[in-house]
């Protein structure tokens, strides 16, 4: 059973460019959350998708947007890249059952903005 997968592993972009990161959730999971982890920091919640809609959003600007597809996979898009967007981007998947949701994380995509 494949866990959460993310692509690409590494990415280098220039300021002002746009980037798309991809995530496939663990088999059977229907909810995808995205996190940004700056160097030396804990992950910060960006947003969460369920049933192809953004359900919750953290304190990130509109330059960060996403999408969830019918097969539950998800994309994170960042427009007008800034140097400060350089970070490890983590995708987590979970199953929307009643109670506490256990999230499974992918290995992340390392984005470097130059």
């Amino acid at each position: 059973d494949a866990g959460v997968t993310q692509s690409p592993t590494h990415l280098i972009k220039t300021r002002g460019q746009q980037v798309t990161l991809r995530c496939s959730p663990k088999s059977g999971h229907d909810t995808v959350s995205w996190y940004q982890q700056a160097l030396g920091q804990g992950p910060q919640f960006i947003f969460q998708y369920y049933e192809e809609e953004e359900r919750q959003r953290g304190n990130f600007p509109d330059r960060f947007s996403g999408h969830q597809f019918p097969n539950y996979s998800s994309e994170l898009n960042v427009n007008a890249l800034l140097l400060g967007d350089s970070a490890l981007y983590l995708c987590a998947s979970s199953l929307r059952l009643a109670g506490i949701y256990e999230q499974y994380f992918g290995p992340g995509t390392r984005l470097t903005v130059t």
Partner: protein
């Protein structure tokens, strides 16, 4: 608002000695708390979770944590450190009862000395 404070950014122990990683939380309701571990170049892995059941929670790889409401603490312990325990550890609180986004602490780097 919910938040966690990890009291030590770096902990160093000798192999075979006990491990204590400290975490205090702040929450306006009865929280759900987690400990995650992150090994270099690997995804975040859930060690254990507290969900208002037993206050002493046992996790994987011999780790456990005790929820103390009076002290607003959720410290992570292990009786005997192993070299493979060297990693970054994150204390995490959920945003609301049953919510699916997580607030991470800034992390504690555990070093195990042979």
């Amino acid at each position: 608002a919910q938040s966690v404070t990890q009291l030590d950014s770096h902990v160093s122990v000798s192999e075979g000695t006990p491990v204590l990683l400290r975490c205090n939380y702040s929450s306006s309701y009865s929280p759900s708390l987690f400990w995650y571990v992150q090994h270099p170049n690997k995804g975040l892995q859930l060690l254990l979770k507290y969900t208002s059941a037993a206050t002493l929670v046992k996790g994987i790889n011999g780790f456990e944590a005790e929820f103390k409401k009076s002290e607003t603490s959720f410290h992570l312990t292990k009786p005997s450190a192993h070299m493979s325990d060297a990693a970054e550890y994150f204390c995490v609180v959920s945003s609301a009862r049953g919510a699916n986004n997580l607030f991470f602490g800034t992390g504690t780097r555990l070093t195990v000395i042979p």
